[in-house]
Amino acid sequence: MTLLRLQEVSKAFGGVRALRGVSFDLRPGEIHALVGENGAGKSTLVRILTGAVKADSGTIEIEGRRVERADPVVMRGLGVAPIYQQPALLPDLTVAENIAMGLERGGPWRRVDWRSRRERARQLLARVGAAVDVDALAHGLRMAEQQLVEIARALGADARILLMDEPTAALTDREATRLFELIRDLRAHRVGVVYISHRLEEVAALADRVSVLRDGELVATRDMAQVDRRELIRLMVGREIQAIFPKRAVPIGDVVLAAEGLACRSSGIRGVSFQVRAGEILGFAGLVGAGRTELARVLFGLTPADEGVIRLRGAAVRVAAPAEAVRLGVAYLPEDRRRHGVIGEMSIAANTTLAALRAITRAGFLDFAAEREIATTYLQRFAIKAPSIDAAVATLSGGNQQKVALARWLATRPSVLVLDEPTQGVDVGAKAEIHGLIVDLAAQGLAILLVSSELPEILGMSDRVVVMRAGTVAGVLDRAVATQERIMTLALGHAESVPA
């Protein structure tokens, strides 16, 4: 008897067909992994299953019964509990209330029992192993803590169907391991888990079956035992991947950017020193919360440094605001592409030139011809798939949006390019293209700082790797000696054995 069955489910968002006739089933007591490139339709599928979005056609059956009106309340009633990639918490409410809001049902006149709410929250958080104050407001929590609160809420719903969309993206390995134990425990209690992740090693360790989504179609469902990593990638991408990382030896110039004893009390950065040369790709590895993004924000002037010196080609500079950083030739491709990387409502042309307005302004007036020329060159050079440079960036796929964001910073002719998770949430195909672009830029003499949580990407792309821990530099490894184990050892800061 299947716990959950989808039959020929389709969904389109204004012309873009996110799901095409997907059929999928989940058995009780099974972990069914769902993999696929970003934009393949995974998140759309989850949002249909949680009732956040209505399918255009197709049927959903839970325990054999067809679900007519699938909205969040109905699906929750049927035992479906979601854990979203972006933690869905109410920032102004306490942790206890956030958990309770997901679990309680009933009309607006129902009395709220604060004591039992806080007690239940405490128990669930303990079960998930999160040291979080139940009275704390959600907006004060770190990303990892928010993720754990969401997981606690899902457990609390004693759900029979658990939908997990990239649950470990923000977790430390220790927290991830704890989560895996919980999931296996739930499987033992006949709960069905749909597990979505980019990290194929997790999928291999956890899942009983795996289904592959490509361009909105479910192309294959296999028992985990019968399929290996390479075939999975082939199924996901639909073509053979040659060299994973197009790394090329590139002539290294002299020091472009040097940091000496950088500190920023508000963001926890202390005593950071490093150098990066022209043509060099300096990787920044470290666990979540090690301060890599915070360091990038210091370099870019979003949170100026309290102490220490930044030298550009030897001359000490004060980067007090992003506008100054841009003038000094420092560019920053931010981690949160949707909110910071691009402005969705504006056109590709406007986004491309936003950071380099000076270049297309004559006596204060915009030179539209120059703007179109810049936008068109990057449209072609980066092979950005879009109807025209006047299309709103929001209508593009994740990968193309990231290319527009990259084009924006190249338009400013930077000498230093800080990339923060440049390929996160981008499909495998676009990922390879972006890696290619990065290497080309290094070849042109740019100094590149590459912040990434994917160790393969760090190892594959960096000339040297700076490993950060708790806001400072734990160590610097040359490309030749850098291995996953060494990086993790420095990142964890003690000789704890690296998890299998």
């Binding site: 969040p72 997901g102 709220v112």
Partner: protein
């Protein structure tokens, strides 16, 4: 986080109110005559009732600047029904129902059609006010039955009942916002409507509900104000919305939604209701009143901004 941290705003407006009371005690003790305190409370009652509704609206990340016009219409309805010989409870119910209906009009346009609240209520403010003027042509509702003033309870009972009823309504809604699921749904909707939807709250229904509640409470405020007199003027409530919004904002409710409390709004109402007469008691000339009221709003809001790095909320 300790209670002080979460209720920092309410404490700061409470401190400001305390400072004003101390100043009055030192420089104008006459302020503390029993009659004056009573008059201030009776005068503040309608503003408090409307402020309760406005707190809900702002908590749900919306705004309503049409309550001044609704106030005038509800008062005229109450007077007209009473003049037509209907018993006072029916006239009172008529005022509240009219308010609720006008609130529902805003609710349908904002929640139903998803139009921005500031512009919808700007339109209903102008539209309702001018329609009332066109229909009544400025003629007051006169020759009301004796039972109209003080709802027939007589002056002393009336002047106790009005602030009493206002405080009762305030207490009930304050309790509800803390202890009823509907109240928490308003906080959730204002904090992040999309996430609230995923946890089973129906944001559109909540937004519609707060506008209807705002309308009904404005109807009650109009009633509590009208029954203090023997006739009903037709151009009442001009500027009423700004006074109510100022009180709620000074009380610490954030315009970005999701954050704030009815305790803060009560303190905001009391602070602004006291500031008016206090200025007279402290001898300030009438023509400086408006400047000082504006200053109080700016100082209260600036103090808050200095106090905490206000969290930039992303738009939904």
């Amino acid at each position: 986080m300790s209670v002080a941290a979460t209720h920092r705003r309410e404490l700061s407006v409470g401190a400001a109110y305390g400072a004003l009371l101390v100043a009055l005690a030192l420089f104008a003790p006459a302020f503390y005559q029993r009659a004056n305190l009573r008059d201030v409370l009776v005068g503040a009652a309608p503003v408090l009732v409307a402020a309760v509704g406005m707190t809900l609206v702002i908590l749900a990340r919306q705004i309503d600047i049409s309550i001044g016009s609704q106030f005038a219409i509800c008062a005229v309805v109450a007077g007209t029904l009473a003049k037509a010989g209907l018993a006072m409870p029916i006239a009172a119910a008529g005022a509240l129902a009219t308010g609720a209906a006008l609130g529902a009009l805003n609710g349908v346009l904002v929640a139903g059609f998803g139009l921005p609240a500031i512009v919808v209520t700007l339109a209903t403010m102008v539209g309702l006010r001018e329609t009332l003027r066109w229909v009544t042509e400025g003629v007051w509702v006169r020759d009301l039955p004796p039972g109209f003033q003080w709802m027939g309870l007589g002056q002393d009972a009336g002047r106790f009942a009005i602030p009493g009823l206002a405080l009762l309504v305030w207490a009930l809604v304050a309790w509800g916002m803390r202890h009823l699921a509907g109240g928490r749904a308003v906080y959730a909707t204002g904090s992040n409507a999309e996430v609230a939807r995923l946890t089973g709250v129906r944001p559109r229904r909540v937004v519609f509900g707060v506008f209807v509640a705002m309308g009904a409470l404005t109807g009650l405020a109009a009633l509590l104000s009208a029954i203090q007199f023997i006739d009903v003027q037709t151009n009442s409530g001009v500027g009423f919305e700004l006074r109510v919004i100022a009180a709620v904002v000074v009380g610490g409710t954030s315009i970005a939604g999701g954050r704030g409390s009815l305790v803060g709004s009560l303190l905001g109402v009391l602070l602004l209701a006291t500031a008016g007469p206090a200025l007279t008691f402290l001898g300030s000339q009438a023509y400086w009143d408006r400047a000082l009221q504006g200053l109080i709003i700016l100082v209260a809001v600036a103090a808050d901004a200095f106090g905490s790095a206000t969290r930039l909320k992303a738009r939904p």
